[in-house]
Point group: C2
Chain length 373, copies 2
């Protein structure tokens, strides 16, 4: 392999690969990236065996060929190189020479056939709007679990279905057992691929989100053989789905009455930030109390002190009182884009629902309350 490529172009490819790479893997090859020079193109691949990314860019290929090398090191090197053309050449024993006009680096490479194979995209890819996808993913991802003993909770559940009027809808759900977040909207056209429901693992969802975050138009998507594929320009991301059944979340969803407390998000967020400074460092418990049009948040941490703040809300029901993990409430407020959110609480021990309506997208988040002593 012998190629010449602009520093910025190569840096962008390497930079995007970094989050896919394994850190300190027991298999060093998973810390490698594959460089594969074909006719007029360089292909850069990274994989942790579950999430894989393949990127392509045109470049000046003198000798075709492929090699894999430490993905972190080549990234650090290219990052510090001046904005000029960089030459990459494979020498004896797979050593790779990386050179600019002044600097020369040698890195030990590995034969390309030791690198894991990267899944190919299926032939049929469907179009989907990237910014709507990112918006839906952002509103659910935070509620997924990190507990790998319950692997079916460590991702976001995607499902499409027909509503009572026969319209195609898509729904995303994530839960860690203490809270649940769900977002739902009409689909422009039937995709079918989510009809049975799939669970996309957390790391994969994050990669999808960052890949699509600066895409304003459509991207291409497909599901095939236990994988989800997303394609933007010359970048293909493939993610192995979690092979498990998503729990029946419908049975934990409280009934929505349509009433509840209308809370202005900004003052709720600011008050929570202040009051939670003195909440318990383990439980982050904050008591929320509503009486008429006033909502009071309180924290009490015997060794450190206590705090309270009252904000104006819009409420016509009976007095309410419940305790929540302040971090869970903040996570919800971070992703709401509307000015207000509606809170429905049946009683202090029943799950509370936060409901938002944004554009055509219905958002709800259920939080289990904490016991008030």
């Amino acid at each position: 392999m012998k190629i010449k490529i602009g520093q910025e172009k190569l840096f962008n490819l390497l930079s995007r690969s970094q989050s896919v790479l394994e850190r300190k893997s027991t298999r060093p090859i998973l810390e490698h990236i594959l460089l594969d020079a074909e006719d007029g193109f360089l292909k850069v691949c990274a994989t942790d065996l579950r999430v894989s990314m393949e990127q392509k860019t045109p470049c000046d290929v003198e000798i075709k060929g492929a090699v894999s090398l430490n993905g972190r090191k080549i990234y650090e090197i290219v990052k510090e190189m001046p904005k000029e053309d960089i030459s990459l050449e494979v020498k004896e024993n797979s050593w790779v020479t990386i050179s600019g006009s002044k600097t020369t680096f040698h890195l030990p490479g590995t034969l390309a056939d030791e690198f894991p194979s990267i899944p190919d995209a299926p032939e049929l890819l469907l179009k989907m709007n990237a910014s709507i996808f990112v918006q839906m993913v952002s509103k659910t991802l935070f509620a997924s679990s990190n507990d790998e003993t319950r692997i079916y909770l460590c991702g976001v559940f995607f499902q499409e279905f027909k509503d009572s009027e026969g319209k195609d809808r898509i729904r995303l759900v994530a839960t860690d057992g203490h809270r649940l977040s769900m977002v739902e909207r009409d689909m422009e056209h039937t995709l079918s691929m989510f009809a049975d429901g799939i669970i996309v693992p957390k790391k994969g969802v994050s990669e999808l989100k960052s890949l699509l975050s600066d895409v304003s138009e459509d991207f291409e998507i497909a599901c095939d053989e236990g994988k989800i594929f997303a394609k933007v320009g010359e970048t293909l991301l493939s993610i192995t789905l979690i092979d498990a059944a998503f729990p029946n979340y419908n049975q934990v969803l409280p009934e929505i009455t349509g009433n509840g407390v209308i809370i202005p998000c900004d003052s709720f967020k600011n008050a929570l930030r202040r009051v939670s400074i003195l909440s318990d460092q383990e439980t982050h418990s904050v008591v929320v109390e509503v009486e008429g049009n006033e909502m009071t948040m309180k924290s009490d941490n015997p060794s450190v002190g206590d705090a309270r703040e009252t904000i104006d809300v819009d409420y016509a029901g009976e007095g309410l009182k419940a305790a929540f993990n302040a971090n869970y409430l903040m996570d919800i407020l971070k992703v709401t884009e509307e000015d207000t959110i509606r809170l429905e609480v049946k009683d202090p021990l029943s799950p509370a629902i936060f409901i938002g309506r944004e554009d055509d997208c219905e958002f709800l988040s259920v939080v289990m309350p904490m016991r008030i002593d």
Copy 2:
């Protein structure tokens, strides 16, 4: 104590105190700050018993008095308060109420007389230019040691003396045994206080540097009873000096010949940054070789790879070769403000000297080379 004070004003005082406070001290009172309301003034004090800071600001004092409370907590609270007046009031059992228009906090306080006493400034303070002081301190502080078993190296040595023409000079020196940094310049007037030489501990020097960093005019300085004092406006910093003899650094200073390699700082810095990516992660060793007007830097890390870069320099002497810790060289290049620096090396095992001349300030840094295998 009962006062009213603007959020921004109080936040600035608390923010500046944070770096003085002890973190996780065995004596919780050293994590506290003292609030002392006198006639129309609030005094905020923090100390770790070696470095103390006292700040004063006018405010609306309804009831005079003093209390100490957790310095980190009150900082976090005031930081999140809206930009409006904040009330502070001491209640029963030294509990303190902090309230804005909407939020109320209660923090447990401690009687003011349990707070350590803060040294008073001596009567006679002399004037010194703040930006020159900061410049001198920046060029030396990095070379001081963190090894508390050699406490006499854990600070910056200040000394004044008369040069051969009888002019008053001030010199700052710091060394960790592997490298030494020294800066020297004429004084506007005799201070006398540094005549015998003093060692200001590292944390104290950092505090001085950050206190003076945005002061463009003179500040006031004094030495008294084993302490150094610095006063800017209504802020007084006092630092207990290290009570030890500074080593005789003159005997390690190589003879300066006036010849050597003239190196452009920017290309030196950029090349070092690149080449050191592949230097040994423990020793950070980079080999520097000069032949004619070319200087080559090389690193070689058998498991990771090797790198080399050549830059143009100005040199008329014989070929040179020596190995250095790249981080030590970077530390020097970070504080030089001139376009070039001069390197003098007698042989690969003798200390190398980097010499700069900036304004009226002479700067030199000595680095022990590493053995080349």
